[in-house]
């Protein structure tokens, strides 16, 4: 997914992603393209540390497909910001 909201993954979008991922028992991983290492998508502190900016590509993975869809939806909605 590409970050499309102008302000990037600041505190609020990070919290929304963490909330969405936390609804699922299964692990949900998140990483920024070009950066090594997966982070826990349930952790707002982890997501913030991605420093995702407008235009960055973000990759999400999980055994649970629905979890991925939930997160994708947030990105598509630009976190309700625009």
């Amino acid at each position: 997914m590409v970050i499309r909201n102008k302000c990037g993954l600041h505190t609020r979008p990070s919290a929304l992603i963490a909330n969405a991922a936390s609804k699922f028992q299964e692990d949900v991983g998140i990483k920024k393209e070009g950066v090594e290492g997966w982070l826990n998508a349930k952790s707002v502190l982890g997501i913030i540390s991605l420093e995702g900016c407008f235009g960055d590509k973000i990759i999400v993975s999980s055994e649970k497909e629905e979890a991925i869809f939930e997160v994708i939806k947030l990105f598509e909605d630009k976190f309700g910001e625009e």
Binding site: L16, N19, V44
Partner: protein
């Protein structure tokens, strides 16, 4: 006397007594725990977490009610943080492994997390640290580590001076007790700034070491616009700022008073003031400025800087959102006003004279699939509020005929598909070419309204490129040719019983208000920020004298003379509005 400079984040001038607000750091006393005490520490950690969560929920609820979702969302971050797998689980691990008390384990973990954020150089870190501190202060309180200093206990009206204020602290402040805020941390985008604005408490942030410089009871001046902070000012400074504060207060009062007054002349002639907007979020300005709708919603933003054309659904959603927000007032949606040079999803063609080229309605008629998609989206939105559509750059009846035909086709399609729309949706033409203005009587029977776009009308009538600085002196809104065209369009509108408004730059300049009013303009669609100014002029003049002025102006032979006449006739008490 000491003069300091910070970042003004919430406007207003305050002179008051300083109240330094010192907080303990995030440290906690370390105690060793026996093996059988671990369970107890875990339990009080969980209780503290639940109490903190309850408190955040309560604050969030209050903010939601008072200021809306945008502000309440700050506290969504608090909640996510409380459940963060890299926070409390780490504290638990620490309690277990190091055999220490919960509050110490907590404070150490938080210090680590904050330090990591600070060292990461992350731009978002500051806001996150804000939230971490907020949560930590609550947790440490509920863990029994400390008493809390309640800001709500401040007795007299003071200027609050602190290192930083957490979001929860800021929202606890009441305007009655806190006249202003000065902090050494934070900036334009920090939570404290956003909340201070919402609470309308003047604030200056980012004033270095302010909490160590100020003593209880010091006199302090803060200017929330320039960011100036003066501690124990000289008498001269104090008087100057008192004067400034008085003026600022007068301006605000005037604005607020105007907000609720109708836009009508002294003899009761009513004028409609609407807002021009570019982005859907700006729809909220309609309520804020008490405008009577949106007179021009530009739709270009959806089309530029993207790979493909915005789909019908996406467009319909945006238009509907704006229509709903503006309801019960109408919104006039202008169809795409661009040339192919700005769109990456059509074949680019170099044009020698883009302003005279394939743009706006011409472009739309050449690419009917793009145009029809937009018309369908606008029609769909018309079932969600009061929507009107307006075509830009029309220069002949044929163009208008073609556009109306396509609109008709779009309606038929929607009807067949059983999709609701407003069958009576008003259709208008933007009058911005001399040919449209001169043939207004031909176009009028086909539409419900005209809206005059002065920027292009001036450029095309006087034949000047309005972005060429060498020609700036020729850009004369008061050129007799322009006034005659405007007058002609308004007269044709009256004869054909359709309303005529103006959405160009001329309508937004208070200098021209009286003239346009006198010429018979019914609706001014203007930049939201100038609504109070235009309203003030309208309320200061009578329709009779405006009509007299317009008649005189139309007889003069040059822009200079007309300008002189307008200057002379401008309401005395509002003279400072005139820039020229």
């Amino acid at each position: 006397m000491k003069k300091l400079k910070g970042i003004g984040v919430s406007s207003g001038i305050v002179i008051g007594k300083a109240y330094p607000f010192k907080k303990e750091g995030l440290s906690a006393v370390k105690r060793a725990i026996k093996k059988d005490g671990v369970e107890h520490e875990m339990a009080i950690l969980n209780i503290a977490k639940e109490k903190t969560r309850d408190e955040v929920y309560k604050i969030r609820g209050r903010i939601l009610e008072e200021f809306g979702e945008g502000f309440a969302d700050i506290f969504t971050v608090h909640l996510a943080l409380l459940d963060d797998p890299s926070l409390l689980p780490k504290v638990k691990k620490r309690i277990e492994e190091e055999r220490v008390n919960a509050s110490y384990a907590f404070s150490e973990t938080v210090k680590d997390v904050s330090a990591n954020l600070i060292f990461s150089n992350n731009k978002q870190a500051i806001r996150m640290i804000d939230v971490i501190h907020d949560i930590s202060e609550k947790m440490l309180h509920y863990l029994g580590e400390r008493e809390r200093i309640e800001l709500s206990e401040i007795k007299e009206k003071v200027v609050l001076v602190a290192k930083n204020l957490t979001p929860s602290e800021t929202v606890q402040l009441s305007k009655e007790k806190v006249a202003g805020i000065v902090c050494s941390m934070g900036g334009q985008t920090s939570h404290a700034a956003i909340l201070a604005q919402a609470l309308r408490i003047p604030a200056v942030l980012g004033v270095q070491d302010i909490e160590d410089t100020v003593l209880l009871g010091d006199t302090i001046i803060l200017d929330g616009i320039s960011g100036v902070v003066i501690i124990n000012p000289t008498l001269k400074d104090k008087q100057a700022y008192e004067e400034k504060a008085k003026r600022a207060e007068k301006d605000i009062k005037k604005r607020e008073r105007l907000l609720h007054l109708p836009s009508e002349t002294t003899d009761g002639h009513k004028i409609k003031l609407c807002a021009n907007i570019e982005l859907p979020e700006e729809a909220r300005l309609v309520k804020q400025e008490m405008a009577e709708g949106i007179g021009l919603f530009r739709t270009e933003f959806m089309f530029i800087e993207r790979d493909g054309m915005p789909e019908e659904n996406e467009q319909a959603e945006v238009y509907s959102m704006v229509a709903k927000k503006t309801h019960p007032y109408p919104v006039i949606i202008r169809t795409l006003d661009l040339g192919g040079d700005k769109l990456s999803f059509v074949l680019r063609q170099e044009e020698e004279n883009p302003f005279l080229g394939l743009r706006a309605i011409r472009f739309c008629l050449k690419y009917p699939h793009i145009f029809k998609t937009q018309l369908r989206a606008i029609l769909r939105a018309s079932s969600q509020g009061r929507v009107k559509v307006m075509f830009p750059m029309v220069s002949s009846k044929e163009e208008l005929d073609d556009a109306l035909l396509l609109l008709h086709t779009a309606k038929e399609e929607l009807e067949r598909e059983g999709i609701p729309f407003d069958e009576e949706m008003e259709v208008g033409v933007m009058i911005e070419t001399p040919s449209a203005a001169l043939t207004a009587n031909i176009l009028a029977p086909l539409v419900d309204f005209f809206s005059i776009g002065t920027n292009d009308l001036i450029q095309y009538t006087i034949a000047i490129d309005r972005v060429n600085p060498e020609l700036a002196y020729l850009y004369q809104p008061l050129h007799p040719a322009i006034l005659r065209l405007i007058k002609e369009v308004i007269d044709v509108g009256q004869k054909n019983e359709i309303w005529v408004g103006m959405c160009g730059g001329m309508a937004s300049d208070p200098f021209y208000t009286m003239l346009l009013l006198g010429m018979g303009l019914k609706e001014f669609s203007i930049a939201p920020g100038v609504i109070p100014k235009i309203k003030e002029v309208i309320r200061a003049v009578s329709y009779q004298e405006a009509k007299g002025l317009a008649e005189k102006a139309l007889l003069l032979d040059s822009a200079q003379k007309i300008e002189a006449l307008l200057k002379k006739s401008f309401p005395q008490e509002l003279r400072e509005m005139i820039r020229k």
